[in-house]
């Protein structure tokens, strides 16, 4: 097999690929292969491309598994993931003990920054969401309750729903999107930049130094924000009550007061604290698991938010059942 390239005026990489195919075909047929007819440059490029035989990469890369293999691999991966979670929870518990006994190593300014970022920094979005949630609850209630002429009970509905459920839940979800995602991205980027390794070789535990301040920040700030969300939600409900249902401000507020007691708030705030810890743990764990690429940072951030949301809803369900069981 040979080439006559006398008609070629210019060529590009497609020619080299074609010659490669021709060579393979010639080898299959056992024919001689002679590329002396090709332009000088093309011959050189072809030889360069085939100078190093393709290296058979060992394992890792693209081994294809059957169905059984994939299920088995998923099970092994799951076992690893579960172990990671337990190890992490254990590390956090140890760090917490060291913190309580005053032996944990961290920087005070980091604490302040984390508290400020997670708390006051979230006020605008929490205000908006909880105010609207209160309004939505009032609207939904108004349609039903007006049918019975019981408009005033919109105040009860909004107050109780916000205090027990929606205040904490909405704050938790906002924290997942805001703080959880940012924790995962921050710690993940530190992982990419070897900053976590640098902490370890300096003798500092990343869990004490990075994770603990973040968990404590959300543990404290989520209930506070939830409390604030409760009040704004009630205000949103009151706005609907006054504008749409012709209730008086005084009447609405008085009805709200009669509907609420401290234990209702406590129920909601305990939930909020649990959500805060879960969001922080999910964000930090995912960040620590980050690989060493930009893509990995994106992945762990997504995963942190998804994990947080799942945990929040599951925890909410469990806590509600527990409250029910203990008759609270």
């Amino acid at each position: 097999m040979g080439f006559d390239a006398s008609g070629i005026t210019s060529w590009d990489s497609a020619l080299i690929v074609f010659v490669g195919r021709a060579q393979a075909a010639a080898a299959r047929l056992g024919a001689d292969f002679d590329m002396s007819g090709l332009p000088e440059g093309a011959q050189r490029v072809f030889r360069l491309a085939h100078a190093v035989p393709p290296r058979s990469v060992t394992a890792a890369a693209g081994e294809r598994l059957g169905l059984v293999g994939r299920i088995g691999k998923a099970a092994i991966d799951l076992a690893g993931a579960v172990r990671d979670v337990f190890t992490f929870v254990g590390d956090v518990a140890i760090a917490l003990i060291r913190f309580v006994t005053g032996r944990a190593r961290f920087r005070r300014p980091d604490f302040v920054t984390n508290f400020a970022d997670c708390g006051p920094g979230a006020l605008p979005i929490v205000s908006l969401i909880s105010f609207l949630t209160g309004m939505i609850l009032a609207f939904v209630g108004a349609i039903q309750l007006t049918a019975f002429g019981a408009q005033i009970f919109v105040a009860n509905l909004v107050a109780i729903a916000m205090a027990v459920e929606m205040g904490g839940l909405m704050t938790g979800i906002i924290m997942a999107g805001r703080a959880g995602a940012s924790f995962a991205a921050q710690i993940g980027t530190m992982q990419v930049n070897e900053e976590i390794d640098a902490l370890r070789t300096t003798g500092l535990s990343p869990v004490e130094f990075l994770v603990l301040p973040r968990i404590l920040a959300l543990f404290v700030m989520t209930p506070l924000l939830a409390l604030y969300a409760n009040f704004l939600g009630i205000m949103g409900g009151a706005l609907v009550g006054v504008m749409l249902l012709d209730l008086s401000w005084e009447g609405y507020i008085a009805q709200t007061k009669s509907a609420l007691d401290l234990s209702l708030f406590a129920r909601g705030l305990i939930k909020a604290a649990v959500f805060g810890v879960l969001v922080a743990m999910a964000g930090c764990l995912r960040g620590m698991q980050c690989g060493r690429s930009a893509e990995a940072v994106g992945k762990v951030t997504t995963s942190a938010v998804v994990t947080s949301l799942v945990l929040i809803v599951v925890a909410d369900a469990i806590i509600t059942v527990v409250y029910n069981a203990i008759g609270w």
């Binding site: 394992a59 890792a60 190593r105 920087r107 980091d110 920054t113 980027t189 530190m190 930049n193 070897e194 900053e195 390794d197 640098a198 902490l199 370890r200 070789t201 300096t202 003798g203 500092l204």
Partner: protein
């Protein structure tokens, strides 16, 4: 294995002894059966082609990646047989400079250098400030105390990382590709700085690199890791290796491919030279 030790200078004490070490992640072995000795005051080069696992080997020396087999002895104590706290004590006597500098990006240069001092010494804030200024001045960054890592150039970040690595006056300094991404002059200056610090502070230096100029300029001992066979194929003073080592892979690396052994290598059975 071609062993070409330095020509009997003052008998230096062994600092870090690596014996039978295999490193890897999970089931994947990256380097196996490593045996080499880093003496006090050495500038020890871990060299080899890209992707042969140099950095991973270094990570197992500084306590980040546990070896799958073998021992890393530091001053006669097996690093990985210690419990976590005791190991931490050993590791604190090391300083490490990572490939990208790995400065903590949320802190200024001064805070980066100060952190270890704040956490592990009883020094007063004023004393720490002075020490930080000294360390930054040593690496030529006086006046940059309040800059954030993102505000300075790559070469400056490397030097700041070096200042941070020296914060606790370590007995051994580890460098992961110190000259990667630096222009030839900055890279030369960094080499000079490393040598100067070794001479003045008496620290052992372990350097992962494939920069030939650095290797010959400052290396006093070395180990050559091979990616294909996943093990070491030579150890000794790089200048002596260049003159005496007969392994074609080592020769090709050290001569930047000019000493082209392709004919010799394809004529001889490929493994003939490895670890006789």
């Amino acid at each position: 294995m071609a062993v070409a030790g330095p020509v009997a200078a003052a008998p230096a004490r062994d600092h870090i002894v690596v014996s039978g070490v295999t490193v890897g992640y999970g089931e994947r072995v990256i380097q196996r059966d490593l045996d080499f000795i880093i003496r006090r005051g050495d500038i020890f080069i871990i060299m080899g082609g890209s992707g042969c696992g140099k950095s991973t080997v270094m990570r197992s020396l500084i306590g980040l990646v546990p070896p799958q087999q073998g021992k890393v002895m530091v001053d006669g104590t097996s690093l990985w047989d210690l419990d976590e706290d005791a190991r931490q004590q050993y590791i604190q006597r090391f300083g490490a400079l990572y490939q990208s500098g790995a400065l903590w990006s949320s802190m200024t240069l001064a805070e980066n250098v100060a952190l270890a001092l704040e956490q592990f010494t009883q020094l007063s804030p004023a004393e720490i400030r002075e020490l930080v200024r000294l360390k930054l001045a040593l690496v030529g960054l006086a006046g940059f105390e309040d800059f954030y890592p993102s505000e300075i150039s790559g070469g400056m970040r490397k030097r700041a990382g070096l200042a941070r690595a020296m914060a606790l006056d370590p007995e051994a300094l580890f460098f992961d590709e110190p000259s990667a991404g630096l222009d030839p002059i900055s890279s030369r200056l960094l080499d000079d700085l490393i040598q100067e610090l070794r001479d003045s502070l008496g620290a052992t230096v372990v350097m992962v690199t494939h920069e030939l100029p650095s290797i010959f300029a400052i290396g006093t001992n070395s180990v050559f890791l091979d990616a294909e066979t996943k093990t070491m194929i030579a150890t000794g003073d790089p200048k002596v290796l260049l003159a005496e080592c007969e392994d074609p892979r080592v020769r090709r690396f050290l001569t930047r491919g000019e000493d082209n052994p392709t004919e010799a290598a394809s004529a001889a059975p490929p493994m003939a030279q490895s670890r006789p």
